[in-house]
Point group: D3
Chain length 254, copies 6
Amino acid sequence: MTDPTASSPAIARPSGRAPDQLREIRIERGFTRHAEGSVLISFGDTRVLCTASVDNKVPGFLRGKGEGWITAEYGMLPRSTHTRSDREAARGKQGGRTLEIQRLIGRSLRACVDRGLLGERTITLDCDVLQADGGTRTAAITGAYVALVDAINGLVASGAIKLPSCGRTPVFGAIAAVSVGIYRGVPVLDLDYAEDSDCDTDMNVVMNDGGGFIELQGTAEGHAFRRDELDAMTTLAQSGIERLIELQREALAG
Amino acid sequence: MTDPTASSPAIARPSGRAPDQLREIRIERGFTRHAEGSVLISFGDTRVLCTASVDNKVPGFLRGKGEGWITAEYGMLPRSTHTRSDREAARGKQGGRTLEIQRLIGRSLRACVDRGLLGERTITLDCDVLQADGGTRTAAITGAYVALVDAINGLVASGAIKLPSCGRTPVFGAIAAVSVGIYRGVPVLDLDYAEDSDCDTDMNVVMNDGGGFIELQGTAEGHAFRRDELDAMTTLAQSGIERLIELQREALAG
Amino acid sequence: MTDPTASSPAIARPSGRAPDQLREIRIERGFTRHAEGSVLISFGDTRVLCTASVDNKVPGFLRGKGEGWITAEYGMLPRSTHTRSDREAARGKQGGRTLEIQRLIGRSLRACVDRGLLGERTITLDCDVLQADGGTRTAAITGAYVALVDAINGLVASGAIKLPSCGRTPVFGAIAAVSVGIYRGVPVLDLDYAEDSDCDTDMNVVMNDGGGFIELQGTAEGHAFRRDELDAMTTLAQSGIERLIELQREALAG
Amino acid sequence: MTDPTASSPAIARPSGRAPDQLREIRIERGFTRHAEGSVLISFGDTRVLCTASVDNKVPGFLRGKGEGWITAEYGMLPRSTHTRSDREAARGKQGGRTLEIQRLIGRSLRACVDRGLLGERTITLDCDVLQADGGTRTAAITGAYVALVDAINGLVASGAIKLPSCGRTPVFGAIAAVSVGIYRGVPVLDLDYAEDSDCDTDMNVVMNDGGGFIELQGTAEGHAFRRDELDAMTTLAQSGIERLIELQREALAG
Amino acid sequence: MTDPTASSPAIARPSGRAPDQLREIRIERGFTRHAEGSVLISFGDTRVLCTASVDNKVPGFLRGKGEGWITAEYGMLPRSTHTRSDREAARGKQGGRTLEIQRLIGRSLRACVDRGLLGERTITLDCDVLQADGGTRTAAITGAYVALVDAINGLVASGAIKLPSCGRTPVFGAIAAVSVGIYRGVPVLDLDYAEDSDCDTDMNVVMNDGGGFIELQGTAEGHAFRRDELDAMTTLAQSGIERLIELQREALAG
Amino acid sequence: MTDPTASSPAIARPSGRAPDQLREIRIERGFTRHAEGSVLISFGDTRVLCTASVDNKVPGFLRGKGEGWITAEYGMLPRSTHTRSDREAARGKQGGRTLEIQRLIGRSLRACVDRGLLGERTITLDCDVLQADGGTRTAAITGAYVALVDAINGLVASGAIKLPSCGRTPVFGAIAAVSVGIYRGVPVLDLDYAEDSDCDTDMNVVMNDGGGFIELQGTAEGHAFRRDELDAMTTLAQSGIERLIELQREALAG
């Protein structure tokens, strides 16, 4: 098998980035005041406001089981995009893409929380895209993780959650996400809109800090992708996610 | 008639402001990149993102009449408020308050535009509340005016709108809005959430730079308000709006 | 300040009325049989059926607080208007105007009821426009007040509500509403459709029998209105509302 | 076969009517002003406002075929009934009963109109129940027929519809409807609410002035009904409908 | 009165059937595995999957009354018909025809069940049309009866329902349904699509095994039908339903 | 890397299948009559009816471009599952899972069609689950491919689609799908419900007959999955899809 990442000098990404280079990532905690966690995350020009809201109730199917719940909602401001999109509230329903993304965010973040330790409360992660330039769902997951940790730390600090004697907290790992794709034949990391709308394959990868896969969603846009391309993409994704998890740690330490 | 504003020393506003004092107002143009106008306006802790989007179509009732249209949509991010509100897109409909506010914004801004000069295009003003602390609708109107001017200036600069020989532009006046109320018996300007939820009367006033009223909506929350209170409130509103229009001019000049 | 009402001889209202003249008002109690209060009110050709329905429950946010609730719904029969409008039930949602009006009716009538004395029950005021000729919301408020009093008197008569020893009833004041506007430069009272669709300013005023303002909603349709015009309009409104409250009393005594 | 109507002396209807006796029927034309036909019909305490609205368009499936369309919508005011029902516009959809009734009204009235002579226009019959006491759908059909004739006569009088040289008009027969049922074992005509909610069988019959059946909808509420009961009910219905058609003629002549 | 069925030799039905001849009827129990009753019924090319699902709850209006409930839902697969119809789930609502049919199925089957003996449980009959060729609602009722009996027999067999000492079961009679009509002047039994779309009158008849009528719904499509035609149609229906009830018995015995 | 499939003897699948063994697959063409393609596909107890409907129109965004469109809708009959689910048409909206699946089916099948050769027509694939036992989306894709080929072959046979001189048809490859997962630590092929609800990782794979990936969607249900597990799962999927494509060919040849 040839190493597809090795061939990258042959192409120029529209942004001038190297194939394995993330966009500039910024994580701004406390962007708004009311939420228990509030993070503005930027992946280049993609900016997503992620808030974590704590509610002392759980959905019906969990009532009385002593477990908590993590759920997510996703939205794009109508003019976060190049041309204005309809407001979903005005159209009277959330589209399929929206529902798909918010289900993905929720599943991803449930994968790092001990819901028994959380107790009977729900944390809702609202991920609202202020500006879109590709990769909104991966930015949302990466930012929502930070908001979630802030909210849970608040619950621990206030005594609402009592830690067990071993000191284990309800968050047992870090979660981050990034997109990878095949752009003009070359595997690239963290696609922006210009690449995303012109690539052959687009894959969203969610991983934890143990290097395990949480979610993997790949779609052949142009031609079917091969197993070696899959390998190259997951390798790129892993390196990107390791860097994102470092940036999450720095932000949380800041 | 006694002057109710004169009695203000007797009370303390929760914020410590004088009765006729606005909150700190900030107007940040170009907050996002894609929209033809994009303004983040802050009235203290109330922050509203106002974007203006140009579309070269008009609603059915105006087709072929050579006139443009100005319309508005309003939304609150679910956790812009103290406790999380349901996402309207998820509930499947916009509530009465939302519809009422977006109708108000649209009417207010149509009052400063020559729709014949605008030509057959629609400008949609999306006002999305990132953080709420009272007065979101008045902040929205005041910020949307700046986004609207930016969008129309862009149309003039690109030659899409040809100005008549007299040089008259489609925007023939400035529009701003502020709330006033009777708080513990004293008329006050620009209510924040603490005042708004505890006042006797709440009035939203929209005026133009000629000192004329565009919209006036007053509601007695506690007891009915008297004519002298109405006078005191409209006087306060006028002074506040004059200041807001100055700030709009400075922002547009900046 | 000149007195704008003094200049009225100079114009002719389409109806031939004097500027300060109400349309013919009729209030017919007991128009239908099942409701606890049922009033057909006519402001000229505008006819609104207002019913008051008592339910021994309150909305969730009031449960267990010992207080009652007053709410309103508004609708127009599809062919109450010059051209048929879509039936909101068939379109699957109530429009913004409908929601705005029913919120206004509800707020207005809550301003005359002691909800503690009412006890844990809800009174719903359904205001259905059988024929529209301008001013449907003000006719609705004025008629709904009479239906509300009938319903509450019924509760007192049946012993469901026990009055305190002071004899105070849950209704502590009268409420009526009227529209005023600037028509061809002249302030006029109680606009009909011909005036409403051709006026410069349109204002809906709700007041109580103490001369206090409950709601004030003014909109500049043509040009912005001045403070002296505001004064002239509120003066006209006050005189109209005084007359409407007399007519309510006569109807209730009849 | 015994004649079940002969046995009627044995029972007392709650209203004291004879088994074959209609309630008091009133047909008031011109009840509202805007519609091309507007009829308030009363079957005793059941009162339905039926308006006919003409629109110079047809639904998509008829466009360009030179034929017209007759359709109907039905609604009940929330407090037309003993206890308040939800407003369908507020619930966001029309219930199954409503849809079923409005489909029945539309089919029934299409059975008396030559849609080719009508030309490419739609007549919508809005049947809104102001007060319900049983038999609202049959009152609606009987009243809507009168509103429909008024609307079509208006089109002929204005020259919008040109009659063929034979003078044939678009309405080629009269249509009326009545309910019949088996109440305590006895067939009765024109059930009111007290009977309707306590009967064994309920049947709605629509017939034309030639004695032909247009619609027949019978439901066994208690026990299954026999063929002789079916015969007795249709005989009663026919006599009632003959009388209703006389009353329609008198109203149209008045 | 002449016997209209006697004249049948004069016409040819598109299918070549005799006027009083049913299509080939097949009743296949256990078509799917999960439901408590699951029947695929065919009336010729019309194929409807009827499942009965038991739920140990009742709707709110029956709670605590010791009675059960029988309800039905109906749907057509989008391409069960000649041309594809919109999927109701995608359109966001069930149409009037669907609601009307499912109300009919529910009422019909409640007429053969002792809801006291059933106890506080709901049986939902889902009738989904896999292939439509006329008469889907009558096939649905006839098949749903078999699924209902299977479900109730299962409850008895498992001991969930205890029979009274007299051995009476909750199902006290058989129910079946068939359509009849006047096709080219001749009464015919069990219309297929070719006849249904070209007939003068269409009537759906639901009867029990005692020969009593449960539901009768006749509609004149072309001209009004006469009493002798009604008699001929109900006679035909009765013979068809007797045969269907035999086939139900055989299927249940099989 | 150890070969995880080699370790399979250590576990017992609930069904007794070998880890790399598909369930019994049946593909029945012409299951219903009206659709241009109609396939009942079974993956064991999972049975999905897939119909292909041709419409000579395209969605707005493709009008006038000379290209066709392939889209899909998915539904589950309410009692296809162990316990009855709500009917989406009755709830008034399609859930997120439904939308996600139908988007997946549509994308997958567009990957094998030359939309230029198809011409301006839409083929809608309706995939309705009659019985569910895990893997409904992969069965749907596999069956819908066969229905699609039947529909396109019909268009070619009727001359509606003219093939280019090279003889290339609009379908340029085969598409099939299967699920794989990690069940009790062992990679297994084609999960049934018992495995699906108790597995650690669940992955749906869509591939073409060239061995390329079209879609890959993996979700860690229990713990994050490793790269070697990913490799083992995709290897299993590939072998399963090769077998499914053989079965599709046999069915199409049959």
